[in-house]
Symmetry: C2
Subunit: 200 residues, 2 copies
């Protein structure tokens, strides 16, 4: 960030009075331009015991498999975002179910929310960000070709829950070990679900 988006003046990084962090501050009009994490929301679309994955047609991780998920837009809810991304990336209509997992990924300034989802019909196709879309069972998930650690961990927890017939909600952090990529550390809590209600 070099210029103020409000007045076009030059930006400096300084610690504003009463603050304790470097911020991008306009030297002309004084506006502080805060930068905050982004929210990614998506779902695990289920159809008759299998789940829908998309093979990425975009970077990063072009060609790898992922759950339908993407950046939340202003003016939408996380559930609406998860349904929209599934429609955009997999041309599939889903009913979004309860929250499944919720992770902070601080080294990329993201939080990542995955819901359970139900495909409303067995219809899907690659959207413009996907090369291929397909249903997978527990035995044929392409574990070595998944796009991101958050996707691998989410699917691992999901299939574990399916295997022991539990429903859980997971929250936690995905951290870099020693600040280095490629070897993430997962710090995860789970809450085991006894019962669920909608529209309180």
């Amino acid at each position: 960030m070099k210029f103020c988006s409000g007045c076009g003046g030059p930006i400096s990084q300084i610690v504003p009075k009463g603050d304790d962090r470097l911020r991008h501050v306009c030297q002309q009009c004084g506006t502080i331009h805060y930068q905050n994490p982004k929210v990614v929301a998506g779902c695990i679309p289920e159809w008759e015991g299998r789940i829908l994955l998309c093979r990425r047609a975009i970077e990063p991780r072009h060609g790898s498999w992922t759950l339908p998920a993407g950046y939340m837009e202003n003016g939408e809810t996380t559930m609406a975002c998860a349904a929209r991304e599934t429609l955009e990336e997999a041309c599939a209509k889903v009913e979004i179910g309860p929250l499944f997992s919720f992770f902070s990924i601080p080294h990329i300034n993201q939080i990542y929310l995955i819901y359970r989802g139900k495909l409303l019909e067995e219809q899907y196709a690659p959207g413009y960000e996907s090369l291929e879309v397909s249903l997978f069972g527990a035995d044929d998930i392409p574990w070595d070709e998944l796009a991101f650690p958050v996707i691998g961990k989410t699917l691992e927890l999901y299939w574990r829950d399916r295997a022991d017939n539990h429903q859980r909600v997971y929250s936690g952090d995905i951290l870099r070990r020693d600040g280095k990529p490629g070897n993430p550390h997962f710090r995860i809590s789970t809450q085991d679900i006894k019962d669920a209600d909608s529209d309180l």
Copy 2:
């Protein structure tokens, strides 16, 4: 947004190719400046059956009572944010517990996350954003002086859970009825917790 933060060029609102929404796009360098919802994280700090609230020294809702919570910073986790905000606003050290509630508030482009929390000692004081900080039991919560609908609903659900000795996690949306302020509609799901584990 009038100027590009990267090159200082003029911004126009157009729908980029392959997109379906108006975006702020630089007419000089072509950069698309996306705008996304912000995450607010906080906690319900408990001490011997009572909870800690802060009276706001800042707008909006100066003088009203709220839970310690604030905008998540780049590079931090939601739990770290909740603990930091509690320290900043109430000068109180907490251990952050399981996720309690998670709401989308699309008309203000926020998602709002509240954790359960335990005060580590009975020490608290107003931080620079608070006029006053105090412990409240179920019978003396200042219901008519709470800052925001999300705070009122969170505390209502929390005390209901305390009364029937349940632990639940809530997720949902807080929407404006007919697009108007002052009369929010809550669309909330709950997942009833049977058991909880940490550090899977």
